[in-house]
């Protein structure tokens, strides 16, 4: 009985220690000068870059031995987390808006646009709709009877681009009460994959990742939305190496294989 109690206590306290020891290591790492290589870094990334960053961080860890912790969410959510004191070394935003917002917080050491994306109209794979070209002649509101899945335009860049595009064609006001807002672009994609809405607007790279679960009906014409430009930012000296890695040709190649267009 006593043995058991002691064992339990040891197990519990060691797990507590390991958790808090992690916290300590992190805070002391940020105090040391930049020349010391960190053992791990934290990257805040736009949800649409989740998969490509999985590949990139694995590659980076293999090369440098530095572990990368990732926190994928909508760019707006991440900006908000950074504003409230979340500690990250690198931040990837899917729009200029949230990068500017973060820059205004005074925590960005360096930032740069680095890849581009496109906006597509998608439907579940069993859709009766055929691929078509979106023009001002399209009767968009009568394409579907239920809701359309997009990211919440208030904080999800993909949702904001979608809102811009729909507004450009004068459709947004007609369908604004039929929008099903999601917490990030991947959640918007998942809703269409599940067949819960007839249509959705996501990035081309998301639709590609989804494979045959969704059908791409159309690409939104470039002039209908602000160019989709991703930005990455270095927030700490420890983040510099990974930031440079994101801008490297190697990373560009991987981004390209996921459907992004590198601009560097």
């Amino acid at each position: 009985m006593l043995k058991k109690a002691i064992l339990t206590f040891v197990l519990l306290s060691s797990s507590f220690l390991s958790v808090f020891a992690g916290g300590n290591a992190e805070s002391s790492a940020s105090e040391t000068p930049a020349s010391d290589t960190p053992t791990e870094i934290t990257v805040f990334l736009a949800a649409s870059t989740t998969d490509v960053l999985n590949d990139l961080t694995a590659m980076y860890t293999e090369r440098t031995g530095i572990a990368v912790n990732t926190n994928p969410a909508s760019s707006g959510t991440l900006a908000k987390q950074l504003e409230q004191g979340a500690e990250a070394d690198v931040y990837i935003s899917a729009s200029k808006k949230w990068m500017d917002y973060t820059d205004n917080l005074g925590i960005v050491l360096e930032s740069s646009p680095f890849v581009r994306n496109r906006l597509v109209l998608i439907a579940p794979n069993d859709t009766p709709l055929k691929p078509f070209e979106i023009t001002t002649e399209t009767d968009f509101p009568s394409l579907f009877s239920g809701r359309i899945s997009i990211g919440d335009p208030a904080h999800v860049p993909a949702g904001k681009y979608a809102q811009d595009a729909l507004t450009y064609f004068g459709w947004y006001d007609k369908i604004s009460d039929r929008i099903q807002p999601a917490a990030d672009v991947r959640a918007a994609l998942a809703v269409v994959e599940l067949g819960e809405t007839e249509l959705g607007i996501v990035y081309e790279t998301d639709a590609m990742k989804s494979g045959d679960k969704v059908a791409v009906l159309s690409h939104f014409p470039e002039e209908s939305f602000t160019p989709i430009e991703y930005f990455c930012a270095q927030l700490t000296p420890e983040g510099e190496d990974f930031y440079q890695f994101l801008l490297s040709d190697d990373a560009a190649g991987i981004f390209e294989s996921y459907g992004f267009t590198p601009t560097k």
Binding site: K80, G146, Q180, A182, A183, L194, E196, T197
Partner: protein, 234 residues
Amino acid sequence: MNGPEITDAIVLSIKIGLLATIINIPLAMITAYLLARFEFGGKAILDGLINLPLVMPPVTTGYLLLFILGKRGFIGAYLFSWFGIRIAFTTAAAVIASMVVSFPLVARSIRISMEMLDKKMENAAMTLGAGKLAVFFRVTLPLILPGVINGAVLGFARSLGEFGATMTFAGNIRGETRTIPLSVYSLLQIPGKEKDAGILVIISIVISFAAMFLSSAFGRKMTRKGKDVYGPSV
């Protein structure tokens, strides 16, 4: 500007909470009755299944619901193709999510009061010629009423706080499924909306407090009434 959004969330939360509770009460009474009075095969499994949402992460509960009742779920697919009924991502889904997560609390509270009830009371009524229904409505129900009310309040409070299952199964649609917690969450994603979120936080504290206060006041009244009616004879 955000006034309507806040009002929408409050009205919707109360509506969903009330609906979930009202539908849950009779279901919970039947379940509690079965569990408190009968021994049958698979009783432990039924008990476990009912209590599962109490300990399961709500997001996984929501995912299971989506898996079952979604448009491509294994029941939801038939509902849609046969009747054209779509449940996921509607107010109905929010009600169902709230029902499932709050059901264990309602059933548990009713079951405890049923197990504590003195069966002699019911037997006495029957020897005096009361039918089964009359016994239930005039003896059993009044005696377990404090437990029912307590369960209802706990269930309502749990519904008001429901977030994970609702987010997964019902989405975050303003005026349809964006309840107080989802609204607070959404407002906190947008820089500069802390004030609106704060207002909602205060309102939800007030609603929860009022519910608890009402239930304890009602509970006291019921116990007193119970003593007046049945006290001296026991």
